[in-house]
Amino acid sequence: MSTLRLAAGQFLRNRAAAAGLICLLLLCIVVTLAPVIAPYNPIQINLGAKLQPPSATHWFGTDYFGRDVFSRTLYGGQLSLSVGLAVVLFAFTLGVPIGLVSGFVGGRLDNLVMRLTDAFLTFPPLLLAVAIVGLLGPDMRNVVLALGLVQAPVLARMVRGSTLSAREEVYVRAARALGASPLRIMFSEILRNIMSPIVVQLTIVFSAAVVAEASLSFLGLGAPPPQPSWGRDLSDARNYLSDAPWMFLSPSAAIMLCVLSINFVGDGLRDALDPRSWRVRAKPVPPAAPVAVLSEDLA
């Protein structure tokens, strides 16, 4: 599709977005290749080398058990990134259709769905996730489920709001006047036009998921202890903040880099998905052929 190519070109012309994308891709590659790159086994305890500052042997130092922080960050990324991605997918597939249908159909269905999301939104998000994980057992799949269930209502509400305003647009009425079916109108007319805020919201969901996974791990509900995760390592590092500040450095830098590049990518996507914001170098449309009758009128 040429539209896709145009959008991609527009995305890459945005420097921050391109940098974010490259950074994100690098992160993904590095994290996937952790078994090859990591100099040490991330869960190998070596009490003889505990709490060592960064050096040639341990680039980012070692933690209280003598485990290599750099290796742990590489492996931890596998968990954190996949949790973030899974939560985004989960929240998207659940929240977007619910919000879209609720806003489009309106009436009683809308009322019912919105009261349900309200019920979800009354709980503090982390508390709700803790309750769900506590109920289902600490398991990575349940963590994704819990974080997804926490984020989906937020997304659904936002999509519903955007749908309500898009539904009243003249082009939606025009599409109906041309015989478009409700499904077609929902996806081709409305969803296409509200993708920008959705994408932005999804980048926020991703960042929130990475951080929330860290919090759950801190509470002992995320990754089980020896397994590395950015969030868990970060919370471990807090206990040694004054003695071994390097423990803190590498997971937090990884989280920051990841969230920042995701946000840049999100901004870039938002602009690339909206043709109106394109800086197009198209030639102006020449005026239409003059109509003969006009000159008659003037004569």
Partner: protein
Amino acid sequence: MSLLRVRDLQVSFASDRGLVRAVQGISFDLEQGEILGVVGESGSGKSVASLAIMRMLPQPPARIVASELSLAGEDLLGMSEARARELRGAQMAMVFQDPMRSLNPVLTIGRQLVEVLQRHLGLNRRQALSRAVELLEMVGIPQASRRLSAYPHQFSGGMRQRVMIAIALSCRPKLLIADEATTALDVTIQAQIVELVKRLAHELDIAVIWISHDLGVVAGMCDRVNVIYAGRIVETAKVDDLFHRPSHGYTLGLLGSTPRVDETEQDRLTPIEGLPPDLIDPPTLCPFLPRCKVAVAECRQSMPPTRAFGPLHQASCFAELA
């Protein structure tokens, strides 16, 4: 057999204050290829009636009743929603007031044209694309094949309205409803669009309902005019008859409040004083009575009957104006 037959069409909406009677029994016929003007002020029911014909009013809140509403012999009121969708775009199409917002901003012009062609005519992509180019050329868009990949925001208002007309006419509908299609455009562009629709209606033999509150435009393009006031057709006539022998107090008022180029002595325009009646509790007398300058004694006793003033010329008025 007329193309469009409307008999005693009534549309009402449920509201907190009661039933709003937006259209109170209008009847008219439209022949194939005929251009019918519909004039009246805001809120008179012009748009509601046309949306009812297009089957585009959600029920509820709207309530639509008619003793007949048919397009080419097919009952529009009783048909299924699926059948109505098939007809919309294929047999009847509509162009709206605001061309700046009538096209989907995130899809290319070509995509929007092709989508309709594929949906109703079952063309494949290649056929649809070449037909799309023809359609854009037909409405006077230069370099049509290159413009297919353009987005709506790259077009001016007049160009967008041409695209809307191309899309509306893409499947050769029998009926085109233009709801204030030139109101948002400046005068020269307006004249171009009017000429375009007039030409295409004749070339393609399409019946047009041209809704407007611009009497000048109506005079220039329509064969016949319905004057609507407070949800009723108060006068219907051929264009010449309407302008030369207006037979309803409201039509007279409309003409008096419209500037005319062909009048040498420049009188001041006379506005119609007052407001249209409440549609929740419509008056039992002539709805225009409180604002009428030519009311006679009978007006205060009963609702004026519809009287014939000539061939195809009817008005609901007691006053003798001709």
